[in-house]
């Protein structure tokens, strides 16, 4: 562990400043280590503020992604004390300031540098999903009650915290076969759209691997937008897949009545 110098300036000042200790991962794909930084604490400070403080005063080359600083863009995901969080939404008050706070990049994606990692795989998955395709001759009238469900899914800010924490990706690394919770949310939004005309059940089962999800709900636990990913998106989709592929009675009747 190598410590940075130039921290003396921080402890000066007339008021008593509380100092928090951060251990931030510094490095790239090949190698890296934890670097300790001391950051003065301000009221209402979030982890991203601390990272910015480090950038401005100690190491300007500390790589980190962020945009909105208001939990709206989903750029600043990282693992703070082992939990995937948005740094701009994680307040220092949540931690014991006397203990060190660890900030690491998302574990499930290849690191580019420091806290930035390569999330391009997610964009590849997204491309493969059949886009919204409206029914023909619709009047475009929709009831609010019918779209409430879908609007929940559309809150997603693509922070990929759920992708990061999902053990199917994180532990079993089934990336090519498994699309991940973020994209089940997207598909749920399309499948439950009252005017959408495409069927994605086969893709869900075969290409997106919804069966790999064992509904252990880590995605729901970390979603900063509070989307009930498992209960409202994945399980209802699983039920629809069962309707089509696993329910013997339904399959039997479909055979008989030749309905598709």
């Amino acid at each position: 562990m190598n410590k940075e110098e130039s921290q003396s300036q921080i402890s000066s000042g007339d008021k008593k400043v509380r100092i928090a200790t951060f251990k931030v991962y510094r490095g790239d794909r090949e190698k890296g280590n934890e670097v300790e930084y001391k950051v003065p604490v301000e009221e209402g400070m979030v982890v991203l503020d601390a990272i910015h403080y480090i950038q401005k005063n100690i190491s300007p080359d500390l790589a980190v992604r962020w945009n909105c600083k208001a939990a709206k863009c989903g750029s600043c995901s990282a693992e703070v004390n082992g939990k995937p969080r948005l740094m701009c939404k994680t307040r220092l008050d949540d931690f014991d300031i006397n203990e060190e706070i660890k900030v690491y990049p998302m574990k499930s994606f290849p690191i580019i540098k420091d806290l930035a990692c390569d999330v391009s795989w997610n964009y590849e998955v997204n491309k493969k999903i059949t886009p919204f395709t409206p029914k023909e001759n619709t009047t475009w009238k929709m009831n609010q009650r019918d779209i409430d469900r879908v609007q929940e899914f559309r809150k997603c800010i693509e922070c990929f915290a759920c992708q990061n924490v999902c053990h199917v990706i994180r532990e079993h690394d089934l990336k090519p076969k498994f699309a991940g919770p973020r994209f089940f949310v997207r598909v749920a939004g399309l499948e439950m759209h009252p005017l959408d005309d495409v069927d994605r059940l086969e893709a869900l089962k075969d290409d997106m691997g919804i069966g790999f999800c064992n509904i252990t709900k880590c995605c729901t636990e970390v979603c900063p937008e509070d989307i009930h990913i498992t209960d409202n998106a994945i399980i209802p989709l699983k039920e629809r897949v069962v309707d089509r592929y696993y329910d013997p009675v339904r399959m039997f009747f479909r055979k008989i009545f030749k309905k598709k």
Binding site: D28, E42, E43, G44, M45, V46, D49, Q55, K56, N57, S59, P60, D61, L62, A63, V64, R65, W66, N67, C68, K69, A70, A71, K72, C73, G74, S75, K89, R91, I112, K113, D114, A116, V119, S120, Y123, N126, K127, P131, F132, P134, W140, K141, M142, N143, Q144, I147, V150, Q151, R154, K155, C156, I157, E158, L190, H193, D196, D226
Partner: protein, 588 residues
Amino acid sequence: MGGYKVNMSTLDRFEIHEHDVLVIGAGGAGLRAAIEASANGVSVGLVCKSLLGKAHTVMAEGGIAAAVGNVDKQDNWQTHFKDTMKGGKFLNNYRMAQLHAQEAPERVLELERWGALFDRTSEGTILQRPFGGHSYKRLCHVGDRTGLEMIRTLQDKGVHMGINVYMECTITRLLKEDGKISGAFGYWRETGRFVIFKAKAIILATGGVGKAYKVTSNSWEYTADGQLLAYDAGAELIDTEFIQFHPTGMIWPPGVIGILVTEAVRGEGGILRNKDGYRFMEKYDPERMELSTRDVVARSIYIENKEGRGSPHGGAFLDISHKGAEYIKKKLPSMYHQFKELADVDITTGPMEVGPTCHYSMGGVKVDADSTATSIPGLYAAGEVAGGMHGANRLGGNSLSDLLVFGRRAGLYAAEYAKKNKATLNINEDEIANAEKSIVVFFEQDGGENPYTVHRDLQELMQNKVGIFRVEDDLKFAINELKSLKERAAKVKIEGSRMYNPGWHMAYDLQSMVIYSEAIAKCALQRKESRGAHSRLDYPNTDPEHGKWNSLVKKANDGSLIVEKSPLPEMPGELKQLLEDKKVAAKI
């Protein structure tokens, strides 16, 4: 990575991509432009500084202004046009305002066809809410995350059209040949390697300049890149003095200062009070109250504070709690969470503390209203980077519709231009070498400052001297100070390697910000009146004489920045007629 040597031998060592149309910026305007260009059958590249879908558009909350007339049936484009002109204190490019009002409804419906889900009326059509400066309930919205809905819709539409997206790439120079656009030069933020894009037409959609201010709702991306790319390439900028301060940003705790509190809070019935509990807008705009235009509300809060009636942290209280918890959580969910999580304030039971925050730049690259073409053949600009549409002050909700209307037009005309232009593209090696040198130089300047220090000083200066209220002495001081900042900025020193190095990125962005700040200050000095977002304490009144021209900024041959006045285009009779019906003398 000190001692980096520029090798001029050949272009081979560069990564080169070729497209008919290159769009720079992937916010609402950029995406819409890329979609349109692609739909017109040309090959399209889309470059953005962040990841796709993270652009500043996601932060737009309130809604898209479009006179679809679902809620208030009497609404129509004429009224929308009138409201926009009135809000812009008649300094708007009339043609842009007209096109915008006419085409916005179609653009919104189109979003719905692409999968966007707006909140609904009881009849099942798109619901609209009232907003500051709009005569009718006009803003199509999705709770308070309309921008996110819009960008996700466009993103999902775009990725299925075969648009090539180049993420985390910064363009540092536009390349020209025979006075026409031929491409762009930039670097990958990730690796620090250079890249060249050959393109017949380029669309700038890079957004604004809010990062030049200390209290701002804008992200790090907002550093006037596009404006400066155009300016350096020889295009003109207009109306740069008009910087909108959004009246309601968060002001406490310190970590969140500047974060936007959507105008939808006021649209949904939020009330502004000072520390004595007085609803002060009664005094400043008794007719429209909280739903007055942003410039008026921002100034009112400022004055209340100056006269000692502000809230404890120098703002005002905005209260929506009378609407009931259920309603607030349904209509303003992200505001609810934002305050709950970041400030420990429950807005369903108590007021929020708000104050002005730098939000939008009305000025920008001068463009042709219909085609969004700049004065350089092959260069187009749409969205916040372009100037003229909003005049002296933008109405809330007009920005998202602006992105869609002019994003589409930019895509359309750029594609047409690219199709007509069959010429092969040559790239000048010297130009490339220059471009390359100008951004790696920061690694070599020993003894230079940290770019963040210079940036902080710039923000201080702009906030204090070229902020909401301006006076001649301050402006002169600022212009002088900017000279030295420019020198300091040019000399900053960067540590570390070119791999994903935010300090280095800041060093480059800083150069654009400093020059654009100079444009803001100089135009502000030139405009000796108060109008819209530009308030001069030494010239508190609106002067009709000044209402006849826009400020114009150009790069002189010697590289210095000059400002001029350019006469407002003459409005055709029928539009004049429209405005005269109820023309209200623009108030301060």
